[in-house]
């Protein structure tokens, strides 16, 4: 009778004991496997969520009305300080990209006039007729305001426009020519900066004038959320968006010509009240907050709003809990499975003491006895483990589905998957546990005195 036949007979002729061992290895394998898979999935999920989340920060001036009442010096001081703080934060390692949101506004002695009109914008004085505001933008701006501004015709400002400082603009879809005719994509919009003086009799004297032409490349529609986010009807009226670096160039040009003409330059025709930052990860929010508080703690006028973390921190608690639970569970599962496995295998083999004694009395090689018994345990254990591979995946997915509530906007698909590494780990660890759990009891049993077993 071959060793293989002995093993098969032992397994098949003792079905209850064999089934018990198989069920045990299945249960422990499922327990460990699902813990391991969940732990891996949670770690992967956390990384995935962080990768998928774009973390933006907007620093904005809270009280626009107060801002309006600043005098020139206060305004200049405020703007310079803001610019310094913006530059400092921009240089931080955790900042991927930054944008200073700058725009124009009309003042008592300057205006921006154009050859187009908007049905929602009207002024009762002639020199403010067809006034527009211009806003410098860049790609970060459009990323951030992706859901607030829709390009309904033409295209948006792109990388080439910015790099080449093209005189292009995107305008609100409701802009028309004064006669009501439609503005076409490719048309040229003229914008004129006017510095003037008002006489007591109401006469307007033009002191400086600069004209700029922009090609209309696209039309946008601003959603209500956009209006609430950063528009103020006093400061921004359906702005003409142009590349930010071009805006800076225009600003410099105007400031220079005003100074050259010794004009009383009003700084607040150009405003930057908002700064936009894109952080490298959600984890950097804390670093940003520390820098923000350090730089802006002497001012109640600013606020910082972070986005992206709203989803992440909603679920971070769940993720942390899941990760901790799965790590602890995996550790406990590993330790108890080895302990319980050894115990059960020992009891399974102890039942074979007499058989071992009989085989010894017949002169069977001890190594063959060990091989037979270890193989029996290994076969049953590995069958149980194989079944547990599937069960642990199912169980892991069920637990993950019920344990986390992640918006699909963040991540559409995650799953607790078995892969080749997991399979190797499970079989490898299972084999080690089985061998250690069975060899030690068998060796101990072989050291028993045969006389005591048999006589």
């Amino acid at each position: 009778m071959t060793l293989v036949k002995r093993i098969i007979l032992s397994i098949t002729r003792r079905p209850i004991k064999s089934l018990l061992l198989l069920v045990l290895s299945f249960a422990l394998g499922t327990f460990i496997g699902s813990s391991y898979l969940i732990s891996r999935a949670v770690n992967g999920l956390e990384t995935n969520i962080k990768d998928n989340l774009d973390t933006y920060v907007v620093i904005s001036y809270k009280d626009i009305d107060e801002y309006k009442n600043l005098n020139n010096l206060e305004y200049k001081d405020n703007q310079n300080k803001f610019l310094e703080k913006y530059n400092e934060i921009s240089m931080k390692e955790y900042v991927d990209n930054s944008s200073l949101l700058q725009y124009t506004k009309y003042t008592s002695f300057s205006s921006w006039n154009s050859n187009i009109s908007h049905p929602s914008i009207s002024f009762f004085v002639d020199y403010l007729k067809y006034s527009v505001s211009i806003m410098g933008t860049d790609l970060l701006f459009f990323d951030f305001y992706e859901e607030t501004i829709d390009i309904v015709e033409g295209r948006c400002i792109n990388k080439e426009d910015i790099e080449n400082q093209r005189y292009v603009t995107i305008i609100d879809k409701d802009y028309t020519y004064p006669d009501g005719s439609e503005i076409q994509i490719g048309d040229i919009v003229k914008v004129e900066y006017n510095k003037f003086d008002l006489e007591t009799d109401g006469t307007v004297t033009q002191l400086n004038s600069l004209e700029y032409e922009f090609e209309v490349i696209g039309k946008y529609e601003m959603k209500d959320i956009g209006r609430n986010k950063f528009l103020d009807e006093t400061y921004l009226m359906y702005p003409l968006f142009i590349p930010n670096n071009l805006f800076s160039q225009i600003k410099n040009e105007i400031e220079t010509t005003n100074l050259n003409k010794n004009l009383n330059y009003e700084n607040n025709t150009f405003i930057y009240l908002n700064a936009l930052f894109k952080l490298d990860s959600v984890d950097s929010i804390e670093d940003f907050r520390n820098d923000y508080l350090r730089l802006f703690n002497d001012s109640d006028h600013y606020e910082a709003i972070t986005t992206g973390d709203e989803y992440y921190y909603d679920i971070k608690g769940s993720l942390d809990n899941m990760s901790m639970i799965s790590s602890v569970t995996m550790f406990i599962a590993g330790v108890t499975s080895i302990f319980i496995g050894t115990l059960i295998i020992y009891l399974y083999l102890k039942d074979r003491t007499k058989e071992i004694g009989i085989l010894i009395s017949m002169g069977e090689y001890k190594k063959k006895i060990i091989i037979q018994l270890v193989c029996e345990v290994a076969i049953l254990g590995l069958i149980g483990l194989s079944l547990s591979l599937i069960a642990s995946s199912i169980l892991g997915n069920v637990i993950m589905d019920h344990g986390l509530n992640i918006p699909s906007a963040i991540i559409e698909d995650y799953s607790v998957n078995i892969d080749i590494i997991y399979i190797f780990c499970m079989y490898g660890i299972g084999a080690v546990v089985i061998i250690i759990s069975s060899i030690i009891p068998v060796w101990h049993l072989l050291k028993s005195r045969p006389k005591d077993i048999l006589l």
């Binding site: 009778m1 071959t2 004694g357 009989i358 085989l359 009395s361 017949m362 002169g363 048999l454 006589l455």
Partner: protein, 225 residues
């Protein structure tokens, strides 16, 4: 032919802090073709002696020689595999195997790489009165007497020179007991085996060729004529 010999064999059990001497300088020999019985009172050391010559226990003093060679030099496992076969009072069969599987198991162990034929196993079983249908039953489905016959067939199948039996008739009825004794006599006288039986039964010892009485006062054998 002298096949087995004990020289100055001694063995003691630890009884608390003291040693209880069971066998003291036992010198005895066994020959092929002879049916031996070993008698003695309970606790006299019969089973101990049997376990020593069966290499299930190691003597504290002295040695056991098979065909003039120390069994330690032969190797205890090899000695049990090739030279002796043991039969126990409680049969000690593999309970999840059939009668024939128990015999085939013994044959595969003793004959190692040799080809084992089922019909050979059936032959050994038939020699002890186990027919074909009973041979294919689980041993637990057989009576005590039938199980003991299977144990004897298992011993026969190893084709060894020495068969050692510990109370082989202890758990069987009288008729079966007589049949077993006849088998042993046949093996000794016709097959030239050395049969060593430990027994309490006078009926069994009366049928044997040599009776060795284990005297507890001297921890040694006395040959009873």
């Amino acid at each position: 032919m002298k096949i087995l010999e004990t020289k100055n064999l001694s063995f003691a059990y630890k009884d608390g802090e003291q040693n209880r001497q069971i066998l003291n300088n036992v010198n005895t020999s066994f020959e092929t073709g002879v049916f031996y019985t070993i008698l003695g009172a309970s606790g006299s050391g019969k089973s101990t002696f049997l376990s020593l010559i069966g290499a299930l226990e190691i003597p504290q003093q002295g040695c056991i020689e098979y065909m003039g060679k120390n069994i330690n030099d032969i190797g205890l496992d090899k000695y049990r595999r090739k030279n002796i076969a043991l039969i126990f009072q409680n049969y000690n069969l593999i309970t999840y195997m059939t009668a024939i599987e128990n015999v085939l198991l013994a044959m595969s162990i003793s004959k190692e790489s040799a080809k084992i034929e089922n019909k050979e196993a059936y032959h050994y079983l038939s020699q002890v009165g186990i027919d074909h249908s009973k041979a294919n039953r689980l041993v637990t489905k057989l009576s005590g007497g039938e199980q003991q016959r299977v144990a004897i067939a298992r011993a026969l199948s190893t084709d060894v020179d020495i068969i050692i039996a510990d109370e082989p008739t202890g758990n069987v009825d009288q008729q079966t007991s007589r049949q077993i004794v006849e088998i042993f006599k046949n093996l000794a006288h016709n097959e030239n085996k050395c049969i060593i039986v430990v027994t309490h039964s006078k009926e069994v010892s009366d049928e044997s060729d040599v009776v060795l009485f284990l005297d507890t006062s001297i921890q040694n054998f006395v040959i009873q004529v």
